[in-house]
């Protein structure tokens, strides 16, 4: 296949992935690696490099809109970024030592987990009554705009959240994804942040986390400009269109379909990893 044809096909696939990812809130980055490896036969290292780049683009592009709404907590985000960037560096180093077939298997497992999480209704974590010692010391409490004025909230279990964020960072650096599922788990369940606050803060952090591993990938020659170009432009354009359409769209059915597709891709990744085809 000529470079022209392949570039157009990859662009179209990335556009579609970014569009569905933004519309369903699952993120387009998560299907880029399976798309490139399974459908186009791209080496998983190049695929991860291109995916990382697209993750930075969508996260930074979306953050501008989120910031305006005033939900994200910049202090919580910045403190936890120490954990995610450390993890991302660790994950990027791990990617050199691990056989590509193992990376494919781990990718499949994480993919399956995100499909499972996205199908469950968001668990109603009870709001924390007061903040933990560490959260108070770090002045993490905040407020978000509610129907009747600003709603104050408290933050708990900072060390546990920090540990989970390290794991999220490792997965992000190893697999080239945003690992939003783990990030939301840490902030919702462990630290008891309100749902809106945790999702927007997580989106805010994803770009920084991905940048930490992208530097290592670039220096190691994993980021191919010819491949990353259609992926980045496609996912970015697709997710911007998806986000614009999101207001008022009924996405429940779409979410279920997309999650099912992700689950199938997860099984394919695990199978291809175990049979050493990836």
């Amino acid at each position: 296949m000529s470079t022209n044809e392949l570039t157009m096909l990859i662009f179209a696939g990335s556009l579609f992935a970014g569009f569905l990812g933004a519309l369903t809130g699952l993120g387009g980055g998560v299907v880029i690696v399976p798309l490139l490896t399974l459908a186009f036969g791209v080496d998983i290292r190049y695929a991860i490099g291109a995916s990382l780049v697209s993750v930075i683009a969508t996260s930074s592009g979306a953050a501008a809109a989120y910031v305006r709404e005033g939900f994200s907590n910049i202090r919580v985000g910045m403190f936890l970024e120490i954990a995610t960037t450390l993890g991302a560096l660790g994950g990027a180093y791990l990617a050199v030592w691990l056989a590509t077939s193992w990376i494919a298997v781990i990718f499949g497992v994480v993919l399956g987990y995100s499909a499972f999480v996205s199908l469950r209704p968001p668990p109603e974590a009870s709001a924390a009554e007061r903040s933990g010692r560490m959260a108070t010391w770090l002045r993490m409490e905040g407020s978000y705009p509610g129907a009747a004025g600003p709603v104050r909230y408290h933050v708990r279990n900072v060390p546990l959240g920090f540990g989970l964020m390290y794991v999220a960072g490792v997965l992000s650096g190893l697999l080239g994804i945003g690992s939003g599922a783990v990030k939301v788990l840490a902030m919702d369940q462990a630290m008891r942040l309100p749902f809106k606050v945790s999702t927007t803060t997580s989106n805010f952090m994803i770009g920084v986390t991905a940048a930490a591993s992208a530097g290592i990938y670039l220096n190691r020659g994993y980021i191919d400009p010819g491949l990353a170009m259609p992926v980045m432009l496609g996912v970015l354009a697709g997710s911007m269109a998806g986000a614009r359409l999101l207001a008022g769209a009924k996405v429940r059915v779409l979410r279920i379909v997309f999650s099912a597709v992700i689950a199938v891709l997860a099984v394919e990744m695990i199978f291809n990893g175990l049979t050493r085809r990836l």
């Binding site: 930075i56 683009a57 501008a64 910045m78 120490i82 930490a212 530097g215 220096n219 400009p225 990353a228």
Partner: protein, 129 residues
């Protein structure tokens, strides 16, 4: 203390960060697009191979090499420069946060943000000092 317009707040720095991020993404996308068009004009008809991993040549792996390629209008170098701008966007955001926390006179968070910035610079510099 009255909350005047001159007081630097979290909200105000978040607004600025939003603008910073959006401009970085738009700028890098335009550079990648320009490089991409040039790339397809030059290499579009040749067969592409991403099946086998070779690793990128040395000049596409670091800031200095990419800068040199870009100045010579090499298409792949130009795309790589756009990607570098994209990677630098969150780094610039963190650097700005250092300043914003300093203006808020929040020493604790200046230190926290400097740690994050240090890790990012370490990664971009090649991860091996």
């Amino acid at each position: 203390m009255p909350k005047g317009a001159h007081v630097w707040t979290d909200e105000r720095s978040e607004q600025t960060i939003g603008i910073l991020l959006r401009s970085g993404v738009i700028l890098s996308a335009l550079v990648v697009l320009a490089g991409g068009i040039l790339y397809l004009v030059h290499y579009g008809a040749i067969a592409a191979d991403y099946r086998h991993f070779h690793g990128e040549p040395g000049d596409l792996r670091n800031v200095r090499g990419i800068g040199g390629d870009m100045l010579r209008w090499h298409s792949r170098g130009l795309i790589q420069f756009g990607l570098l701008l994209l990677i630098a966007t969150p780094v610039a955001r963190v650097a700005f946060s250092v300043l914003a926390f300093a203006l808020e006179r929040d020493g604790k968070y200046v230190v926290i943000t400097l740690i994050v910035l240090g890790l990012l610079v370490y990664s971009l510099a090649g991860g091996g000092f």
